[in-house]
Protein backbone atom coordinates (compact mmCIF):
# COMPACT_ATOMS: atom_id res chain seq x y z
CA UNK A 1 0.00 0.00 0.00
CA UNK A 2 2.94 2.33 0.63
CA UNK A 3 5.27 0.80 -1.97
CA UNK A 4 7.43 -0.50 0.86
CA UNK A 5 8.29 3.00 2.08
CA UNK A 6 5.97 3.07 5.08
CA UNK A 7 3.06 5.45 5.69
CA UNK A 8 3.63 9.18 5.09
CA UNK A 9 2.20 9.81 8.55
CA UNK A 10 1.43 7.61 11.55
CA UNK A 11 -1.07 8.46 14.28
CA UNK A 12 -0.87 6.84 17.73
CA UNK A 13 -4.47 7.01 18.97
CA UNK A 14 -3.83 4.48 21.74
CA UNK A 15 -1.44 6.12 24.20
CA UNK A 16 0.09 5.18 27.51
CA UNK A 17 -2.34 2.50 28.60
CA UNK A 18 -1.53 0.38 25.53
CA UNK A 19 -1.92 -3.32 26.20
CA UNK A 20 1.37 -5.10 26.50
CA UNK A 21 2.27 -8.04 24.31
CA UNK A 22 5.29 -10.28 23.94
CA UNK A 23 8.63 -10.01 25.69
CA UNK A 24 8.91 -6.23 25.40
CA UNK A 25 5.33 -5.94 26.66
CA UNK A 26 6.20 -7.99 29.70
CA UNK A 27 9.17 -5.68 30.30
CA UNK A 28 6.85 -2.63 30.15
CA UNK A 29 4.30 -4.21 32.49
CA UNK A 30 6.93 -5.11 35.08
CA UNK A 31 8.45 -1.63 35.02
CA UNK A 32 5.00 -0.03 35.30
CA UNK A 33 4.09 -2.29 38.22
CA UNK A 34 7.34 -1.36 39.97
CA UNK A 35 6.61 2.35 39.28
CA UNK A 36 9.91 2.57 37.39
CA UNK A 37 8.09 3.93 34.37
CA UNK A 38 4.58 5.31 33.90
CA UNK A 39 3.76 5.09 30.22
CA UNK A 40 3.58 2.05 28.01
CA UNK A 41 5.61 2.80 24.88
CA UNK A 42 4.27 -0.14 22.87
CA UNK A 43 2.49 1.90 20.21
CA UNK A 44 4.96 4.79 20.32
CA UNK A 45 7.72 2.37 19.31
CA UNK A 46 5.59 0.94 16.50
CA UNK A 47 4.65 4.30 14.95
CA UNK A 48 8.27 5.47 14.98
CA UNK A 49 9.54 2.22 13.45
CA UNK A 50 6.79 2.04 10.80
CA UNK A 51 6.77 5.64 9.59
CA UNK A 52 8.49 6.40 6.29
CA UNK A 53 11.66 8.53 6.27
CA UNK A 54 10.95 12.26 6.69
CA UNK A 55 7.36 11.42 7.71
CA UNK A 56 5.22 12.70 10.56
CA UNK A 57 4.38 10.89 13.79
CA UNK A 58 1.23 12.40 15.32
CA UNK A 59 0.48 11.61 18.95
CA UNK A 60 -2.95 12.54 20.29
CA UNK A 61 -1.88 10.16 23.08
CA UNK A 62 -2.51 10.38 25.89
CA UNK A 63 0.90 10.19 27.55
CA UNK A 64 1.37 11.35 31.13
CA UNK A 65 4.88 10.69 32.41
CA UNK A 66 7.96 8.68 31.51
CA UNK A 67 8.17 6.21 28.63
CA UNK A 68 10.94 3.69 28.32
CA UNK A 69 12.91 2.29 25.36
CA UNK A 70 11.83 4.88 22.80
CA UNK A 71 13.74 4.26 19.53
CA UNK A 72 15.53 7.60 19.37
CA UNK A 73 17.90 6.33 16.69
CA UNK A 74 15.04 5.61 14.30
CA UNK A 75 13.37 8.92 15.15
CA UNK A 76 16.52 10.90 14.43
CA UNK A 77 18.03 9.02 11.53
CA UNK A 78 14.75 8.71 9.61
CA UNK A 79 14.29 12.49 10.03
CA UNK A 80 10.82 12.13 11.53
CA UNK A 81 8.72 15.00 12.84
CA UNK A 82 6.71 14.46 16.02
CA UNK A 83 3.55 16.54 16.40
CA UNK A 84 1.57 16.22 19.62
CA UNK A 85 -0.22 18.11 22.38
CA UNK A 86 -3.50 18.26 24.20
CA UNK A 87 -6.10 19.38 21.68
CA UNK A 88 -6.33 23.16 21.32
CA UNK A 89 -9.99 22.57 21.81
CA UNK A 90 -11.24 26.16 21.94
CA UNK A 91 -10.14 26.40 18.28
CA UNK A 92 -10.86 22.87 17.03
CA UNK A 93 -14.33 22.63 18.65
CA UNK A 94 -15.31 25.46 16.30
CA UNK A 95 -13.70 23.67 13.32
CA UNK A 96 -15.84 20.65 14.23
CA UNK A 97 -18.97 22.78 14.62
CA UNK A 98 -18.51 24.19 11.11
CA UNK A 99 -17.99 20.70 9.64
CA UNK A 100 -21.18 19.56 11.42
CA UNK A 101 -23.16 22.54 10.10
CA UNK A 102 -21.84 21.83 6.59
CA UNK A 103 -23.02 18.24 6.82
CA UNK A 104 -19.48 16.87 6.42
CA UNK A 105 -19.51 14.83 9.65
CA UNK A 106 -22.01 12.88 11.77
CA UNK A 107 -20.01 12.33 14.97
CA UNK A 108 -22.90 10.81 16.95
CA UNK A 109 -22.51 7.66 14.83
CA UNK A 110 -19.92 6.37 17.31
CA UNK A 111 -22.36 6.47 20.27
CA UNK A 112 -23.35 2.97 21.41
CA UNK A 113 -25.00 3.71 24.77
CA UNK A 114 -27.30 6.44 26.11
CA UNK A 115 -27.84 6.28 29.88
CA UNK A 116 -29.42 8.60 32.45
CA UNK A 117 -26.87 10.39 34.67
CA UNK A 118 -28.14 8.33 37.64
CA UNK A 119 -26.62 5.26 35.94
CA UNK A 120 -23.24 6.89 35.30
CA UNK A 121 -21.31 4.52 37.59
CA UNK A 122 -22.76 1.57 35.70
CA UNK A 123 -21.66 3.29 32.49
CA UNK A 124 -18.05 3.37 33.69
CA UNK A 125 -18.22 -0.32 34.49
CA UNK A 126 -19.64 -1.18 31.07
CA UNK A 127 -16.97 0.94 29.35
CA UNK A 128 -14.13 -0.47 31.46
CA UNK A 129 -15.07 -4.11 30.97
CA UNK A 130 -15.86 -3.69 27.26
CA UNK A 131 -19.32 -5.17 27.82
CA UNK A 132 -22.28 -5.07 25.48
CA UNK A 133 -20.30 -3.96 22.37
CA UNK A 134 -19.70 -0.61 24.05
CA UNK A 135 -18.01 2.08 21.98
CA UNK A 136 -19.02 5.50 23.32
CA UNK A 137 -21.38 6.30 26.20
CA UNK A 138 -23.34 9.51 26.65
CA UNK A 139 -25.19 10.42 29.83
CA UNK A 140 -28.44 12.36 29.80
CA UNK A 141 -29.34 14.81 32.57
Amino acid sequence: MTGGMGPDACIDAVGYEAESHGAVGLYDSVKQALKMTTDSAQILRQVIMACRKAGVVSLPGVYIGMADKVPMGALMNKALTIKTGQTHITKYMRTGLQLLKDGKIKPSEIISHRLPIAEAANGYQIFDTNKDEVFKIVLKC
Binding site: P7, D8, I11, T87, L100, K106, C141
Partner: protein, 223 residues
Protein backbone atom coordinates in the same frame (compact mmCIF):
# COMPACT_ATOMS: atom_id res chain seq x y z
CA UNK B 1 -27.81 17.91 42.19
CA UNK B 2 -26.68 14.53 40.92
CA UNK B 3 -22.98 14.16 40.03
CA UNK B 4 -20.58 11.33 39.28
CA UNK B 5 -17.93 11.40 42.01
CA UNK B 6 -14.55 9.60 42.14
CA UNK B 7 -13.59 7.63 45.25
CA UNK B 8 -10.70 5.45 44.12
CA UNK B 9 -9.66 2.80 41.64
CA UNK B 10 -12.81 1.45 39.96
CA UNK B 11 -14.93 3.23 42.58
CA UNK B 12 -17.15 6.01 41.21
CA UNK B 13 -20.57 6.90 42.62
CA UNK B 14 -23.52 9.08 41.67
CA UNK B 15 -24.17 11.31 44.65
CA UNK B 16 -26.25 14.32 45.70
CA UNK B 17 -23.84 17.27 45.95
CA UNK B 18 -24.32 21.06 46.28
CA UNK B 19 -24.93 22.99 43.06
CA UNK B 20 -22.03 25.17 41.82
CA UNK B 21 -22.05 28.94 42.28
CA UNK B 22 -20.68 31.82 40.23
CA UNK B 23 -17.19 32.55 41.62
CA UNK B 24 -15.71 34.99 39.08
CA UNK B 25 -17.35 37.77 37.10
CA UNK B 26 -16.87 35.92 33.79
CA UNK B 27 -18.26 32.54 34.96
CA UNK B 28 -21.42 30.91 33.73
CA UNK B 29 -23.39 28.07 35.26
CA UNK B 30 -24.90 25.62 32.81
CA UNK B 31 -27.59 23.00 33.27
CA UNK B 32 -26.13 19.95 31.57
CA UNK B 33 -28.19 18.24 28.89
CA UNK B 34 -25.67 15.69 27.56
CA UNK B 35 -22.25 14.59 28.85
CA UNK B 36 -20.01 11.76 27.68
CA UNK B 37 -17.56 9.32 29.22
CA UNK B 38 -14.16 9.66 27.54
CA UNK B 39 -11.51 6.99 27.20
CA UNK B 40 -9.29 9.25 29.27
CA UNK B 41 -11.88 9.10 32.08
CA UNK B 42 -10.94 5.44 32.32
CA UNK B 43 -7.40 6.53 33.24
CA UNK B 44 -8.95 8.22 36.29
CA UNK B 45 -11.12 5.15 36.88
CA UNK B 46 -8.00 2.96 36.79
CA UNK B 47 -6.33 5.22 39.34
CA UNK B 48 -3.32 5.97 37.13
CA UNK B 49 -3.66 9.78 37.23
CA UNK B 50 -2.06 11.46 40.26
CA UNK B 51 -3.66 14.09 42.51
CA UNK B 52 -7.23 12.82 42.58
CA UNK B 53 -9.25 13.47 45.75
CA UNK B 54 -12.21 11.56 47.08
CA UNK B 55 -15.44 13.20 45.95
CA UNK B 56 -14.00 14.85 42.82
CA UNK B 57 -16.66 15.25 40.11
CA UNK B 58 -15.51 13.75 36.80
CA UNK B 59 -16.33 14.58 33.19
CA UNK B 60 -14.91 16.93 30.57
CA UNK B 61 -17.20 16.31 27.58
CA UNK B 62 -20.45 18.16 28.20
CA UNK B 63 -22.97 20.71 26.97
CA UNK B 64 -26.16 22.30 28.15
CA UNK B 65 -28.06 25.52 28.72
CA UNK B 66 -26.86 28.69 30.45
CA UNK B 67 -28.82 29.24 33.67
CA UNK B 68 -26.74 31.96 35.31
CA UNK B 69 -23.92 34.31 34.34
CA UNK B 70 -21.46 36.70 35.93
CA UNK B 71 -21.68 40.45 35.17
CA UNK B 72 -18.72 40.42 32.77
CA UNK B 73 -20.03 37.69 30.47
CA UNK B 74 -20.69 39.40 27.16
CA UNK B 75 -22.37 37.34 24.46
CA UNK B 76 -24.19 34.65 26.42
CA UNK B 77 -27.60 34.88 28.09
CA UNK B 78 -29.61 32.60 30.36
CA UNK B 79 -31.37 30.12 28.09
CA UNK B 80 -28.60 29.94 25.47
CA UNK B 81 -27.62 26.44 24.40
CA UNK B 82 -23.83 26.02 24.57
CA UNK B 83 -21.07 23.48 23.98
CA UNK B 84 -18.06 23.63 26.29
CA UNK B 85 -14.42 22.85 25.34
CA UNK B 86 -12.85 20.27 27.68
CA UNK B 87 -9.86 22.51 28.48
CA UNK B 88 -10.21 25.97 30.01
CA UNK B 89 -8.42 28.88 28.33
CA UNK B 90 -8.05 32.51 29.36
CA UNK B 91 -7.92 33.85 25.80
CA UNK B 92 -5.31 36.51 26.50
CA UNK B 93 -2.00 34.89 27.50
CA UNK B 94 1.00 34.31 25.20
CA UNK B 95 -0.26 30.85 24.24
CA UNK B 96 -3.97 31.61 23.82
CA UNK B 97 -3.14 34.55 21.55
CA UNK B 98 -1.29 32.08 19.30
CA UNK B 99 -4.23 29.63 19.47
CA UNK B 100 -2.25 27.10 21.55
CA UNK B 101 -5.24 27.00 23.88
CA UNK B 102 -4.29 23.80 25.71
CA UNK B 103 -1.08 25.52 26.79
CA UNK B 104 -2.95 28.38 28.53
CA UNK B 105 -0.87 29.91 31.33
CA UNK B 106 -3.73 31.14 33.52
CA UNK B 107 -6.21 28.33 34.16
CA UNK B 108 -4.24 25.75 36.13
CA UNK B 109 -3.98 27.19 39.61
CA UNK B 110 -2.23 24.23 41.16
CA UNK B 111 0.35 24.28 38.40
CA UNK B 112 3.28 23.91 40.83
CA UNK B 113 2.94 20.12 40.64
CA UNK B 114 2.56 20.16 36.90
CA UNK B 115 5.70 22.27 36.60
CA UNK B 116 7.58 19.78 38.75
CA UNK B 117 6.45 16.89 36.54
CA UNK B 118 6.64 18.42 33.06
CA UNK B 119 8.76 21.56 33.32
CA UNK B 120 5.65 23.71 32.87
CA UNK B 121 1.90 23.54 33.41
CA UNK B 122 -0.78 23.25 30.74
CA UNK B 123 -4.36 24.52 30.78
CA UNK B 124 -6.87 23.40 33.37
CA UNK B 125 -9.25 20.61 32.34
CA UNK B 126 -12.73 20.00 33.76
CA UNK B 127 -12.99 16.99 36.04
CA UNK B 128 -9.46 15.77 35.49
CA UNK B 129 -7.55 15.76 38.78
CA UNK B 130 -5.93 18.53 40.80
CA UNK B 131 -2.89 18.24 38.53
CA UNK B 132 -5.11 19.77 35.84
CA UNK B 133 -6.58 22.50 38.02
CA UNK B 134 -9.05 20.67 40.22
CA UNK B 135 -12.15 21.89 38.35
CA UNK B 136 -15.46 20.15 39.06
CA UNK B 137 -16.41 18.14 35.97
CA UNK B 138 -19.31 17.91 33.57
CA UNK B 139 -20.83 14.57 34.57
CA UNK B 140 -23.20 16.52 36.80
CA UNK B 141 -26.55 18.23 36.45
CA UNK B 142 -24.97 21.70 36.79
CA UNK B 143 -21.44 22.90 36.00
CA UNK B 144 -19.56 26.15 36.60
CA UNK B 145 -17.71 27.21 33.45
CA UNK B 146 -14.95 29.81 34.03
CA UNK B 147 -13.63 32.21 31.34
CA UNK B 148 -17.01 31.95 29.63
CA UNK B 149 -16.17 34.67 27.08
CA UNK B 150 -13.51 32.41 25.57
CA UNK B 151 -14.44 28.73 25.41
CA UNK B 152 -18.20 28.14 25.16
CA UNK B 153 -19.83 28.27 21.73
CA UNK B 154 -23.51 29.06 21.26
CA UNK B 155 -25.39 26.51 19.13
CA UNK B 156 -28.77 26.62 17.44
CA UNK B 157 -31.66 24.28 18.09
CA UNK B 158 -31.37 22.55 14.70
CA UNK B 159 -28.32 20.54 15.77
CA UNK B 160 -28.52 17.30 17.72
CA UNK B 161 -27.14 17.01 21.29
CA UNK B 162 -25.41 13.72 20.52
CA UNK B 163 -23.51 15.22 17.57
CA UNK B 164 -22.63 18.37 19.51
CA UNK B 165 -21.39 16.54 22.60
CA UNK B 166 -18.81 14.78 20.40
CA UNK B 167 -17.37 18.21 19.49
CA UNK B 168 -16.30 19.03 23.05
CA UNK B 169 -13.29 16.66 22.88
CA UNK B 170 -13.48 13.45 20.84
CA UNK B 171 -13.97 14.68 17.27
CA UNK B 172 -11.59 17.66 17.47
CA UNK B 173 -8.90 15.47 19.07
CA UNK B 174 -9.03 13.08 16.12
CA UNK B 175 -9.15 16.04 13.74
CA UNK B 176 -6.11 17.80 15.23
CA UNK B 177 -4.18 14.51 15.15
CA UNK B 178 -4.91 14.27 11.42
CA UNK B 179 -4.21 17.94 10.75
CA UNK B 180 -0.84 17.52 12.49
CA UNK B 181 0.07 14.97 9.79
CA UNK B 182 0.37 17.78 7.22
CA UNK B 183 -1.42 15.58 4.69
CA UNK B 184 -0.48 16.07 1.03
CA UNK B 185 -2.40 14.76 -2.01
CA UNK B 186 -1.68 11.06 -2.47
CA UNK B 187 -0.59 10.52 1.13
CA UNK B 188 -1.17 7.34 3.08
CA UNK B 189 -1.88 7.78 6.79
CA UNK B 190 -1.74 4.91 9.27
CA UNK B 191 -3.80 5.10 12.47
CA UNK B 192 -3.08 2.87 15.47
CA UNK B 193 -6.19 2.46 17.64
CA UNK B 194 -9.77 2.45 16.35
CA UNK B 195 -11.58 3.76 19.41
CA UNK B 196 -13.46 7.07 19.18
CA UNK B 197 -10.30 9.18 18.67
CA UNK B 198 -8.92 6.76 16.09
CA UNK B 199 -12.25 6.69 14.21
CA UNK B 200 -12.38 10.48 14.09
CA UNK B 201 -8.71 10.66 13.06
CA UNK B 202 -9.47 8.28 10.17
CA UNK B 203 -12.51 10.33 9.10
CA UNK B 204 -10.55 13.58 9.40
CA UNK B 205 -7.56 12.25 7.45
CA UNK B 206 -9.88 11.61 4.49
CA UNK B 207 -11.50 15.05 4.93
CA UNK B 208 -8.01 16.58 4.83
CA UNK B 209 -7.17 14.85 1.57
CA UNK B 210 -5.51 11.53 2.43
CA UNK B 211 -5.50 9.09 -0.48
CA UNK B 212 -5.57 6.07 1.77
CA UNK B 213 -5.90 5.40 5.51
CA UNK B 214 -4.66 2.21 7.13
CA UNK B 215 -6.37 1.38 10.43
CA UNK B 216 -4.56 -0.84 12.92
CA UNK B 217 -6.28 -2.29 15.98
CA UNK B 218 -6.65 -5.37 18.09
CA UNK B 219 -10.00 -6.78 16.92
CA UNK B 220 -12.90 -6.21 19.31
CA UNK B 221 -16.62 -6.74 18.73
CA UNK B 222 -17.39 -3.01 18.71
CA UNK B 223 -14.72 -2.05 16.15
Amino acid sequence: MKALCWYGTRDVRVEEVPEPKILASDDIIIKTSTTAICGSDLHLYHGTVPMMEKGDILGHEFMGTVVEKGPDVKDLQAGDRVIIPFAISCGRCFFCKREYYSCCDNTNHKSYYSKKMNGDATAGIFGYSHLMGGYAGGQAEYVRVPFANVGPAKVTSGLDDDDLAMLTDAFPTGYMAAENCNIQPGDTVAVWGCGPIGQFAIRSAYLLGAHEVIAIAIPSPAV
